[in-house]
Every structure is written in structure tokens, then in C-alpha cells.
């Protein structure tokens, strides 16, 4: 019995890996076309390191196929399963805490954010030297990371409350952007670009599918909610709050 099931799973699994290889290739065709056209027609230069490029592209295609198979097998079912379980348990405070931890935890550890925070701190204290400036830099980078992480945590919290209550997402977004416009003139000019960019950086390739599955799962297990209309919108909130919070940090920071 057990072996029969696992054999069937294995066949399904092979199918799940084999089929998307072609799809992944077609996902990459536009990039290949752009690179070829610019390199050969505009710059009129031959491709150097063609072997390495080919190796890289094969890895990208296999990797993308594996990733998408993994989404179907692991990320989506887990996100939706947890959403259903939380809905069945009916405990809103735990769900809200879960959403906050998810947002905070993943963002704080996000490598892209760590890079940006260090860069921003380096830029901000560029003219100062010595140990004191280095300590200041480290504090600033850490504060920036914490700020963005708290912002994303609060965004997911708000997103969950919004799905439970059935509030349309545009109200949050409109009010949020109004706030962004209002406080932008008061923020120092060297933080504005970083603040606007931090909204896009905070949502990583693994967090996005999980958040989408969580939102859709939650919306489909609460009566009266539409998975399309209520399930999406969390990522938008997670892209908005960091802008607001980092601008705020720029104003408050001495």
C-alpha cells in the first residue's frame, strides 16, 4: 500500500519536473532575444564566454522549473493549509500574531535588504571617519532593517485583518500614499530614494508566493469573501508601509 502510493507520487513528481522545463525555456526566451539583439546588432560584438553563458542559462532553466514544481508541491499547499487551519481554529489574535511574525521574520533576514541597509548607512555617513562613525553606521543599518521589518510585519497584520473584515484594499493604499506624499517634503533628500526602493526590496521570491497562498486560502475559507477580490492585496500593503516607515525614520533620525 505504502509503496504503491509513493510510486504514484514519484510519477506525479517526475511529471511535475519534466513538464515545466519547456515552460521555463519560453519564460527565458525574451531575455535571450534582448541580449542577442543588443550584443550582435547594436554593439556589434561577438559573445564572449559563450560556454559560461550557456551553462548559466541551463542552470536558470532547471532552477526555474524546480522552483515552480516546488511551489505547487510545497509552498502553495502549506500556505493555504495553514490559512484553513487558522480559520477553522477561529482565533484571530493568533492569526494576527502569525502574520506579524511572518512579515517581520522574513524581512529582517532578507539578504537584499541587508545589502541595501549597509549601502544606505555607508552613504549617509560617508564624510565622517573613525570608530564613532562606523558605530553610527552599524546602528543606522540595523535601525533601517528593523524599521522595514516592522513595517512589513504590520502590513501583513493589516492585510489579515482586512481579509477578515472584508475591507477593500484600495482605501488602505489611497490613505497610505496620501501619507507618503504628505511626509516626503519633510524627509532628507538622501533618504527618499532609499525609502521608495525599500518597498520593492522587502518582498522576496519566497515570501510573495507564501503570502499570496495565505491570503487566498484565508479569503476562500471565510464565508462571504471572494478569493480574487479579498485574497490579493497583502503584497501591495507590504510594499507600501516600508516607504512610510523609512521616510518617518529619516525625519526622526537626528
Amino acid at each position: 500500500m505504502r509503496t504503491a502510493v509513493s510510486l504514484r507520487d514519484l510519477r506525479k513528481l517526475m511529471h511535475a519536473i519534466g513538464f515545466p522545463l519547456w515552460n521555463s525555456l519560453s519564460d527565458l526566451l525574451p531575455i535571450i532575444a534582448v541580449v542577442a539583439v543588443f550584443q550582435l546588432l547594436v554593439f556589434q560584438q561577438p559573445l564572449r564566454n559563450a560556454g559560461q553563458l550557456f551553462l548559466g542559462l541551463s542552470m536558470v532553466i532547471i532552477g526555474l522549473s524546480l522552483f515552480i514544481a516546488g511551489l505547487r508541491l510545497g509552498l502553495f499547499p502549506l500556505g493555504e493549509g495553514m490559512a484553513h487551519d487558522f480559520a477553522r481554529k477561529g482565533s484571530v489574535p493568533w492569526l494576527i500574531l502569525f502574520a506579524f511574525c511572518l512579515g517581520f521574520g522574513t524581512t529582517f533576514a532578507e539578504p537584499a535588504l541587508i545589502t541595501i541597509a549597509n549601502e544606505a548607512a555607508h552613504v549617509k555617513f560617508a564624510e565622517q571617519a573613525g570608530d564613532e562613525a562606523r558605530a553610527l553606521q552599524r546602528t543606522f543599518a540595523l535601525t533601517l532593517r528593523t524599521t522595514v521589518a516592522i513595517a512589513v510585519g504590520i502590513a501583513l497584520m493589516l492585510g489579515v485583518v482586512r481579509i477578515i473584515k472584508g475591507w477593500p484594499v484600495q482605501y488602505f493604499i489611497l490613505v497610505g500614499y496620501c501619507f507618503v506624499m504628505l511626509i516626503t517634503p519633510f524627509a532628507p533628500s538622501n533618504i527618499i530614494g532609499i525609502a521608495y526602493d525599500s518597498g520593492g526590496v522587502a518582498t522576496s521570491t519566497i515570501t510573495v508566493p507564501l503570502t499570496a497562498a495565505l491570503g487566498v486560502g484565508l479569503a476562500s475559507s471565510i464565508q462571504g469573501r471572494n478569493p480574487l477580490f479579498d485574497g490579493f492585496g497583502m503584497i501591495a500593503l507590504a510594499a507600501l508601509t516600508p516607504i512610510l516607515f523609512v521616510l518617518g525614520l529619516g525625519i526622526i533620525w537626528p
Binding site: A69, G105, Y177, G200, I206, F232
Partner: protein
């Protein structure tokens, strides 16, 4: 450039990315929900696929595409038509290259924005979910093309802004106002998805290439400060997809309405 070394690094980074997620999920699953996970081996297998797949994907990008893309961005800024500072002197001011001489930069920015967004894994994931949830009324490919077009326009506009030197907030605030107005007229169902696609677009593939282009451009165009002008391209890239996705839905709704008006009065 050792492929294995890059792969090891990518695996390490991806695992570091996933570890807090797994810890949080495990804690809530064991301590709060206290329910066994359905089909645990399958889930674990799927997560391993995600980690290995993403690491391979990133390694491949770092081996092939990123160096080439950065090299192309540099070559683009060394082209003769953007390096004629002495030839055209605007009265009183310093030598200036007219903004339209950067046409290859804008075309490259658009092409890179569109093509990298098509390959963006997070967008593929969201488009899959959207097609599934909408029962097929939203096509995954249609959504992805709409987002890609938006990113392309956004990055091209962003490079134009760097060349012109207009402050970032002017563009962004105008964009937000346009989105607010469009929201009132777009089909209600698409709005959350359109807003989400703004945040989704900018992850693994697009950001490094676009950032290289932005910083390179800001350090080459006279009078631009990489610190102030180099950032902000990503903000552009997440602004315009909201418009194009809502536009896509408006177009689809309009196309659907036309034949139905002719045949029946169901609407």
C-alpha cells in the same frame, strides 16, 4: 568565477532566507494550531525543490546574465552619441548632451525591464494563483505581459528621469494620482491584484540589472549624484505595472462587453 562556489553561496543565502520562515511556521503549527500537516513528505520535498531551484536559478544568473547585462549597460553609456560634451555647449551652462541622444539607453531599459519581468519567479507564482482563483478569466500570460510592459515603461521613464534630473517625488506623486483616478474606473475585481503586481515585480532578476543600469547612468551623466539619483528606478518599476494591469483588465472588460451587447442584453 567558480560555479560551485557561487552555487554554495546561493544555497547559503536561500537557506538563510527560508530558515526564519520555517521556524515561524513550525512554531505556529506545533504550538498554536496543533494539527498534523497533510502529506508532510510531499511538502518537505516541495520546499527542498524551492530552495534548490532558486539557488540554481540565482547561480545561473550570476554566471551568465548579470555580468553580461552590466557589461552591456557600461557599453551603452560609452556610445559616441552620448559622449559629445564639448560639441554642444548650452549658453552659460556646462556642456550638455541632449536627453534624446540617450535613445539607446531608453530602448535598452525598456527591453531589459520587459524581458526580465517575464522570467521573474515571484510574478509567475502570483499569476498562477490568479489564474487558478479567477477560474481562468484572468490569464496567467496576459497578466504577466501586462506587468512586464509596465516594468519596461517604468524603467525607461526612470532612466529618462535620471538623464533629465527631475526630482523623483514629482514623478512618483503624479503616478500615484494617476493610479488613484484609474482605480475609480477599473473593474473592482482586478484592483487588489494590480496593486500586488507592483510589489511582486521587483525581486531576483530585475533588481540587480536595473540597479546596475541606474547607478551606472547616474555616475556618468554630468551633474547627477549616484546617491540621490541612482536609487529610485525600482520605485518606477513598481509604479507602472499597477497602471498596465488595471488597463489590461479595462481592455478585457471592454472587449467582453462589445460582442455581448450585440448578441444579447445580459449585461
Amino acid at each position: 568565477m567558480n560555479a560551485l562556489e557561487i552555487f554554495g553561496n546561493s544555497i547559503y543565502n536561500t537557506i538563510r532566507d527560508v530558515l526564519p520562515l520555517v521556524a515561524i511556521i513550525a512554531f505556529f503549527q506545533l504550538a498554536v494550531l496543533r494539527r498534523p500537516l497533510l502529506n508532510l513528505p510531499r511538502l518537505v520535498c516541495g520546499w527542498c525543490f524551492v530552495v534548490i531551484g532558486l539557488s540554481l536559478f540565482l547561480t545561473g544568473l550570476k554566471l551568465g546574465l548579470f555580468p553580461l547585462g552590466e557589461e552591456m549597460a557600461v557599453q551603452l553609456l560609452q556610445r559616441p552619441e552620448v559622449n559629445i560634451q564639448e560639441a554642444q555647449v548650452v549658453e552659460g551652462a556646462a556642456a550638455i548632451v541632449p536627453f534624446y541622444n540617450y535613445y539607446w539607453t531608453y530602448i535598452f531599459a525598456f527591453a531589459i525591464g520587459v524581458s526580465t519581468t517575464i522570467a521573474e519567479p515571484a510574478l509567475i507564482a502570483v499569476a498562477m494563483k490568479a489564474e487558478e482563483v479567477s477560474g481562468g478569466t484572468i490569464r496567467a500570460w496576459g497578466l504577466r505581459l501586462a506587468v512586464a510592459l509596465g516594468v519596461g515603461i517604468g524603467v525607461a521613464m526612470g532612466t529618462l528621469r535620471i538623464v533629465l534630473g527631475t526630482p523623483l517625488p514629482y514623478f512618483i506623486i503624479t503616478g500615484y494620482v494617476a493610479i488613484m483616478i484609474q482605480t475609480c474606473f477599473a473593474p473592482k475585481q482586478i484592483v487588489p491584484l494590480a496593486y500586488d503586481s507592483g510589489g511582486v515585480t521587483t525581486s531576483t532578476v530585475t533588481v540587480p540589472l536595473v540597479a546596475a543600469l541606474g547607478l551606472g547612468l547616474a555616475s556618468r551623466v554630468p551633474g547627477r549624484d549616484p546617491v540621490i539619483d541612482g536609487f529610485g528606478l525600482i520605485a518606477f518599476a513598481s509604479l507602472f505595472p499597477m497602471m498596465t494591469v488595471m488597463g489590461y483588465a479595462q481592455l478585457a472588460a471592454w472587449l467582453n462587453r462589445r460582442p455581448s451587447q450585440r448578441t444579447s442584453n445580459l449585461e
